[in-house]
Symmetry: C2
Subunit: 570 residues, 2 copies
Amino acid sequence: MAQINPTVGALSKNAEKILRFADKARSMEADLVVFPELVLTGYPPEDLLLKPRFIEDNIEWLNKISPKMSGITAIVGFVDSEEDIYNAAAIIHKGTVVSVYHKMFLPNYGVFDEQRYFQSGRGPLNIVMGDVIVGVGICEDIWYLEGPASVQALAGAHVIVNINASPYHVGKSLLREEMLVTRALDNEVIVAYNNTVGGQDELIFDGQGMIINEEGAVVARGKPFQEDLIVKDLDLSGVIRRRLRDTRRRHEKLERSVASVRELTLHPERVKRKKKGLPRKAVAEPLNRLEEVLRALLLGTRDYVKKNRFRHCIIGLSGGIDSSLVAAVAAEALGSKNLTGVVMPSKYSSPESKADALALAKNLGIKVITVPINKAFESYLGLLKDVFRNRPPDVTEENLQARTRGNIIMALSNKFGWLVLTTGNKSEMSVGYATLYGDMAGGFAVIKDVPKTMVYELASYINIRAGKPVIPERVLVKPPSAELKPGQTDQDTLPPYEMLDPILKAYVEDDKSLDEIVAMGYKNGIVKRVIGMVDRSEYKRRQAPPGIKITPRAFGKDRRMPITNRYESY
Amino acid sequence: MAQINPTVGALSKNAEKILRFADKARSMEADLVVFPELVLTGYPPEDLLLKPRFIEDNIEWLNKISPKMSGITAIVGFVDSEEDIYNAAAIIHKGTVVSVYHKMFLPNYGVFDEQRYFQSGRGPLNIVMGDVIVGVGICEDIWYLEGPASVQALAGAHVIVNINASPYHVGKSLLREEMLVTRALDNEVIVAYNNTVGGQDELIFDGQGMIINEEGAVVARGKPFQEDLIVKDLDLSGVIRRRLRDTRRRHEKLERSVASVRELTLHPERVKRKKKGLPRKAVAEPLNRLEEVLRALLLGTRDYVKKNRFRHCIIGLSGGIDSSLVAAVAAEALGSKNLTGVVMPSKYSSPESKADALALAKNLGIKVITVPINKAFESYLGLLKDVFRNRPPDVTEENLQARTRGNIIMALSNKFGWLVLTTGNKSEMSVGYATLYGDMAGGFAVIKDVPKTMVYELASYINIRAGKPVIPERVLVKPPSAELKPGQTDQDTLPPYEMLDPILKAYVEDDKSLDEIVAMGYKNGIVKRVIGMVDRSEYKRRQAPPGIKITPRAFGKDRRMPITNRYESY
């Protein structure tokens, strides 16, 4: 299973990578090499799929690579076209596309829009490769209890190959494993689940492909968050023994569907094996929760930057926990020399914050540019003096400072071609505790989907992992503050984050109502205020840069709320 | 047909409006009153539909209004729930919901995401009201040649009632009419097509409901872009005569589906009519193209502002054509007293531009605030002097001016609670000829989907319509310029708009490839450059405020392109 990282739209580059991995698999004398879902186009191609030329080009590339893949059977995800278009898997054998499978179940929830583009396939496909029958499936196809995999197994498949572009969220890999184990046990088959890897705008694909045998044991697992070639000789004796005993429960409804399974018989190329089986490979261990999230952020940042052809990034460093975490992530993802921190103190910035920002930059080994904002801020106040006469200072002046910083960092971005990474976390994004065009100004929002309480956990973890305080200790303990007016802390405006975050999870991710959240043990008044803040901030989120999804429901294409919305959820 | 303007989420307010229109129809002694698709929730409710409490609340409101609707039969769009949720029409008779129809065809393309939320209904519904059989359908149901309407007609329906939330684009009404005429003629029925009206974020619903008789004649048409009660006594004799002659072509496939039509017999309430039939109403005339677009912009602006509870708007006036058009639209939509223009001259602003901006404001009768930006701009240059040493001025300094303006206008917005209307047109949005956080800063983008060439047409039309130069004549004839450096015009960077706009339409709206656009008669080099600009500006558009869709494909939820995208469309 080639667990590779394609780039959306980069047909020639993806084709090249497919050939490279196919060559490697062939050199190991594998019989079958499997690539992820839509590997040729990258996933998700979104409205590129509406361009007829894009579809033609992807088929042209499939036909270009096929002849170069003789000597091994390959399953390659691409977009098929016949009247309508299909999320498809090409079966390439002896250098030719000998059959195509069309994905039957098209997800259209969460971040998925597959019914916007594709027609559903009409029936499953089994490939007969000598003594082995391999069922082919794509992603969603395997998530259903009595779905195609069960029918394929009844029709004789020993192995179900399922190719994926399955987006990451915390704990997703375990969810997948539980489902796949059920599928393997129920159908008495080996399940080979291959996943893509890489970052694409808001999404991370975490790899972690796995092979699960008919007894539900994980016999191979791909590396998390990186490319891998998962090589495994499959022991089919268990499956065959059970088939001979025919212990399977009969299932009338499914039996009737068996006739819908197309069977494709391949004539082996009979390349005599020189090697005694495929090399043994260690089963990669799953990561702990914080390491998993950190790796997702690293991959997401690296891929957004590289795939969009940036070489250097810039971050505003406030000396606070959010920008410290983002800087630490970016420095590791891109290398210290490709990151610049900008310290933009105002008259409200504490000396401690400036010191912490500089200490962080020193620890990370990144360059620092210091631009005090006061002169520009004061000149705005001067320009607006007459218009603002008799009006007391309010959030306007706070936003003006944040926006002055936004302008300075964007000027650096424009002048030097650097990508601005923003530093807002999910708790802030939820309640709108951020300045549009101010601290929200930038191209990519690294921790946009990380709740504040997890920001603290990750920052501590980074220090533990490094064995030294990369992020200055004081940053971890001082009360969080935007420092936009004297003595300000986040808790002047917001409930404590230990209370805010579970309320936000309940409302934003779990669609719970006011009553239900109150029943969890929070005060009505607080919950009501939080819900109101979330609802009223939709217009800000609509203009926020994309960021990395790490929870079951992120902002962006995962949560599509109207801005104009008079529903009072309480 | 009650052509009303609900607000997304405003269940109680929508319910109240439904009752008001039902009362009015009853007082006219109508037998049947019909409301638009999802009228109770507003359309589209988007991910509000994932909140179980929202679904419960909408059903609760349906049950609250039903008893108040006795004495008339009503069809009301709402979200039904049984295991899954449905886009549904309640049949309310004698104060009770006597039946529910579930939409069968769920659109999931363009701006539509209905398969994200709803299950498809299983079969059509005919209502027997005395001698008249009325088929019920929802929106997409009627767009298919051999769809539910045909089956309902075969099962005996004389009238097909179709309730809609059909978004506007230029010429859409004519498209609908052609389709409905075909449907009426093919099935020898009367088609009563009711549409919602109003603005919801990016979408405009234009009303223009119509009743088309079995001969394909439009016998009633609702007002464009405003609420209306379309009242009509239907003459069924033509339909009945044809039925008796049974001239219809037989259609085997459809005949087999007739059994799937549920039939609901209502027992009339036999309220004796006092009046001799319903009052006659004029058939509203369709609008000319520019008036139609203008009305869409007026409604979209008014509804976004009002439904989001703003009272006052603010626009940066440059003296150019875009801001002049937006100001003219907003002044008409909101009233002059609810609009303020901000003139923010720099050292590159020509005296003519300032004069034109002030003349426009005077013509419109709106207040003006003048804030010259130079001091703030210069202070930025001072702050950045060291960092920018040895670097020549470039687009950075231009953007910095635009962003200084952005900050000033946002400060006014924050201080006074005014909504900022942005002034970018579709041509600029397409090629990225706009400054993120600069002129793009604001809450609502009135002409975001209007190509520059149409901006000129609309501006001229506004003057013609007013019988006097509301927009100063010079604005219409001077070469367009951002005035961010000396002597700058748009055509330094862009092809002439007469050439740019058709290329953009071909690429953005029609998904044409480089070759196909070149074959339309444009130079390869120019088309390639334009395509490159469009592709590279996706990140800017992602952070743009929402704006009013007036073309078949707008930016926003209508065109979902990846930012990370290495496809070279050439």
